[in-house]
């Protein structure tokens, strides 16, 4: 499929900024987006669907007397539609309220080089080739064990490009690809049905491993068949990346975003340069990480991405800023404005939230646990208290570790505690880093977490 040319997208963005200025905007920004994706869908053990989507649009942000207006349209081939959208943005700004903290859109800065974010092979992939990838994954799961039912999943290949321009001279273009395989499985042995297990692999280059995904998704489900109950008390826990992604997103990631800090919605407000986590914990937000799923040249406002030290050996080092929160605090943006395509205005969001790995392998991490639980799949992390960090979630299935070995699975146990306390109690960080959406992290091990058994 043909994609929009860089020159076309950039000039559309730049011309729209000019149009907005001519029509009365004190400042203007245009974000042009193109997204294409092909997906193969699996349902109940077979490939049943194949879809493609083409989505293009432009989002226009304007400022008049310190009030911000935004409008978007997905009709970009027609100048009248774009002018109407400019007028809608201006109308919205005039209807809105001035914001005295508004200190302007970002200025132009040099852009960094990034690696492994675009692979022309993914762009040119045909849907029949993607069917082959999905088939390899499905077959691997089905052949692994008769008791496995792959209930849902698929493969997707996507291309995204965006061009941004603003009235301070910013003009940027970036394009990216991603390919993903995912499979949700359960295992059934007579009347014994496991909870749903899940595995996936997402990459920016065409080097996904569908067979690994299929085998792992099958292995996890089968390993959840044998279960026992466990008693309510405190245990040593190992959190895999699946669990960390859930738990940290609503709490720790939230706490380092400047927007929340400035609005008293972060427990880290007065904690810069103090110990907030275990000495084992060093974290970067790295928008430049080679091959990272959130890596890009610039952020949602055209500000260059960068690598920001957030926590060093447990000491809080910095917060994450977009242009607005940075100017409000009198510091430089860290390039953390994120936006959902052309549909939204930017907001502060981590890029690749990178917890640096330690030296112990997964096996070593497990072997040192006498009486504990390996936790992957959580339910209810989104109902954690985002400000205080208190959580109360279900882990199902989870795997019981005894004398350094995984013995059996447990179902429906609850974990309760405070994520910020938990961060201080991390006693080991694994070497088994993997990327999962925004999170790039190894396993983390924590002592003394309350588990409520059945």
């Amino acid at each position: 499929m043909a994609v929009l040319e860089k020159e076309f997208m950039l000039s559309l963005a730049e011309n729209t900024v000019k149009t907005a200025q001519q029509k009365g905007a004190a400042e203007a920004e245009a974000f042009v987006y193109e997204g294409k994706a092909t997906n193969i869908g699996i349902e109940r053990g077979q490939i049943t669907k194949n879809d493609r989507i083409l989505d293009r649009g432009i989002g226009i942000r304007v400022q008049i007397r310190k009030a911000i207006g935004f409008a978007y349209t997905n009709i970009i081939e027609n100048q009248t539609a774009i002018e109407t959208t400019v007028i809608k943005a201006l109308e919205a700004a005039r209807a809105s309220k001035p914001d005295n903290d508004w200190k302007g859109l970002p200025e132009k800065k040099p852009y960094p080089q990034i690696e492994k974010t675009f692979d022309v092979k993914i762009l040119e992939l045909h849907s029949d080739e993607l069917v082959n990838v999905a088939t390899a994954m499905l077959d691997a799961a089905i052949e692994a064990d008769k008791r496995v039912l792959p209930i849902e999943g698929g493969c997707g290949a996507g291309y995204v490009s965006n061009a941004i321009a603003n009235s301070h001279g910013i003009a940027g273009f970036d394009q990216a690809t991603m390919i993903e395989c995912s499979l949700a499985t359960l295992a059934k042995d007579g009347s014994n049905v496991t909870p749903v297990c899940f595995e996936f692999n997402a990459e920016r280059n065409f080097n996904v491993n569908p067979v690994w995904v299929g085998k792992e998704a099958a292995r996890l489900a089968v390993s959840a068949l044998k279960t026992k109950q466990m008693e309510t008390k405190k245990y040593e826990l190992i959190f895999t990346q699946f669990a960390l992604q859930e738990l940290l997103y609503y709490t720790l990631v939230n706490a380092v975003e400047a927007d929340n800090v400035q609005r008293n919605q972060s427990p880290f407000k007065e904690k810069l340069s103090t110990q907030v986590g275990s000495e084992k914990l060093t974290i970067y937000d790295d928008g430049l990480l080679p091959g990272g799923l959130r890596t890009g040249i610039f952020d949602g406002e055209g500000f260059p991405h960068q690598k920001t030290l957030l926590m060093e050996k447990g000491v809080l080092h910095s917060f994450l800023y977009d242009n607005y929160t940075a100017k409000k605090a009198g510091v430089e943006s860290t390039g953390n404005a994120s936006r959902a395509g052309y549909l939204s205005t930017p907001n502060v969001e981590a890029t690749n939230f990178h917890i640096l790995p330690g030296s112990k392998s997964a096996d070593q991490m497990l072997s040192e646990v006498d009486d504990g639980l390996l936790v992957s799949y959580l339910q209810g992390a989104h109902s954690s208290n985002p400000v205080s960090g208190e959580f109360s979630v279900v882990a199902t299935p989870a795997w019981r570790i005894k004398k350094g070995k995984i013995e059996y699975a447990t179902r429906g146990v609850m974990l309760a505690g405070n994520i910020f306390e938990l961060l201080k109690n991390i006693n080991e960080v694994g070497s088994n880093e993997r990327k999962m959406g925004q999170l790039v992290a190894p396993w983390l091990r924590v002592a003394n977490v309350k588990v409520i058994g059945k």
Binding site: G41, E43, R44, Q46, I47, T48, K49, N50, D51, R52, I53, L54, A67, G69, A71, T73, N74, I75, E91, A92, A95, S96, K97, D99, D101, S127, D128, V131, T135, I151, L186, K188, T194, P195, V196, R263, N264, Q265, L343, T345, N347, Q379, G380, H382, S383, N385, P386, V387, S388, S392, V393, V394, T396, R411, G412, M414, A416, N418, K450, I452
Partner: protein, 461 residues
């Protein structure tokens, strides 16, 4: 529009050999903003026009979506969709078939008292601003207030090659409000969500003074709350906790696609799985409710579907594909968030039917337990393990409501818990919400107060 869309679907059937073809088009206009402590981040207006095409060829689905009404682009897309369906179906063992439905021609119009598209952005901002002021000024300890506002108006179009053509006006008004309070290093958090398909008049029912006050009060009341004990306790659940329980813990299991995927309900049709007091509906026909509509995104009329009657499983929620598999009737539960995605089985307004008891009677029966009044979120697994996070809770001590409790959540196995419902109240409430199942859907959920002999309470104390 009718000519264009029906031409596309008949081309798929006649030229490309599709068993079935449908086209969904939308012309929507959205207004939204986020206000934080009275500051409007950006007032937004957007146009989203697009078309989704879906075909069934040799038992497999092919879909394409485009942001255009151009005839050539649509013809190209339908041809692609048919090719892609063939590729998907190469190794299909169980071809997909659809339950028959009657061909329908209709034009559904909305009749709001106040159409949100005719209310100025200034007024919408002013209204949110008043709510913000009430919340922040009602108590010094309230430190933040975020208000999201959203409305959507426009028309959706549906055509298939079986003679159905429907134009349906769309109208949604929605707002979510959150506040946080701080005292001596303790942070608390409260949220409210309102939504309607009637019109902007929803704000007459929930004016700023009431909404802001309720939001602030709840955040402040938890400042002195204690952590719950972890363990198994009797509990009284408020209407919106029951709503989330019905939706998350039971409703998803009663979605026929999930039931087929190993969910615990498929083998329980016609069986008694719950206490006699339990009756659940999923109802798309409640006038003005956030989950209501006349036709779903497969052109099937939305019905009032009885899921459990007096403890016995009586029905599932279907699209045309699952209705065929279960040899049942489509219930009008196929919904797509927009033209970018395919319709999947989604809930509408899901609730538990009320009975006779008062809240006091329910609480009187508990020696020590918890009254879970207001939820924060919920989630469930296909095996029936559920979790519901709670934002407002109290201890029950010797039949009386006692001290407030914060950051609790409840869990259990859905079917086991349904058997433990031992009293059902009479005070019914339906709330607006949104449900995520890959796509977002606007839904309603609710019920009366109920009492459960035991649930697992997740607490660190």
């Amino acid at each position: 529009m009718k000519d264009l869309l029906t031409r596309v679907t008949s081309t798929a059937a006649e030229k490309f050999g599709a068993e079935y073809a449908e086209v969904r088009a939308q012309k929507l206009f959205k207004t939204s903003f986020t206000m934080k402590e009275g500051r409007v981040e950006a007032a937004k207006q957007g146009i989203e026009n697009g078309v989704a095409l879906r075909t069934l060829v040799k038992g497999a689905w092919g879909s394409a979506s485009v942001g255009s009404f151009d005839t050539a682009i649509l013809m190209d897309a339908i041809s692609d969709a048919c090719v892609m369906a063939r590729q998907a179906g190469l190794r299909l063992k169980n071809p997909i078939r659809l339950a028959a439905t009657k061909a329908i021609e209709d034009h559904v119009q909305v009749k709001p008292k106040r159409n949100p598209s005719e209310v100025s952005i200034e007024e919408k901002i002013k209204n949110a601003s008043s709510t913000n002021n009430v919340a922040l000024k009602s108590d010094k300890r309230v430190k933040s207030c975020t208000i999201d506002y959203f409305d959507l108006t426009g028309t959706s179009y549906f055509a298939n090659n079986e003679g159905t053509y429907i134009e349906q006006d769309k109208l949604y008004v929605w707002s979510r409000l959150t506040a946080s309070a701080l005292q001596n290093g303790v942070f608390t958090f409260s949220r409210e969500e309102i939504g309607s398909t009637l019109g902007y008049e929803i704000f007459d029912k929930d004016p700023p003074e009431i909404l802001g006050e309720r939001l602030a009060k709840r955040a402040v009341s938890q400042l002195n709350a204690k952590s719950p004990k972890g363990g198994t306790f009797p509990a009284v659940l408020g209407p919106n906790v029951v709503g989330v329980f019905v939706h998350e813990a039971f409703g998803h299991l009663a979605e026929a696609d999930l039931a087929l995927s190993g969910g615990v309900l498929a083998d329980n049709m016609g069986k008694k799985i719950a206490s006699d007091l339990v009756t659940f509906y999923d109802d798309g026909t409640i006038n003005g409710a956030f989950g209501s509509f006349k036709y779903d995104d497969e052109g099937v009329p939305a019905k009032k579907t009885l899921l459990i009657k007096d403890g016995v499983v009586t029905g599932l929620m279907h699209n045309r594909e699952t209705a065929q598999k279960f040899n049942s009737e489509p219930t009008g539960n196929a919904r797509a968030e927009d033209f970018r995605v395919e319709p999947i089985i989604r809930m509408r307004n899901t609730y538990m039917a009320p009975r006779e008891r008062s809240l006091e009677e329910l609480i009187e029966g508990v020696d020590f337990g918890y009254y879970f009044k207001n939820f924060r979120g919920g989630q469930a697994n296909l095996d029936g393990t559920f979790q519901v996070g709670i934002q407002e809770a109290y201890e029950i001590v010797k039949g009386e409501v006692g001290d407030p409790v914060r950051d609790a959540s409840i869990s259990g196995n859905t079917l086991e818990t349904l058997l433990k419902v031992d009293a059902v109240g009479k005070d019914f409430e339906l709330s607006a919400g949104r449900c995520g199942k890959g796509q977002t859907a606007f839904i309603g959920d609710g019920g009366p107060n109920i009492r459960v002999r035991e649930v697992i309470v997740g607490g660190s104390a």
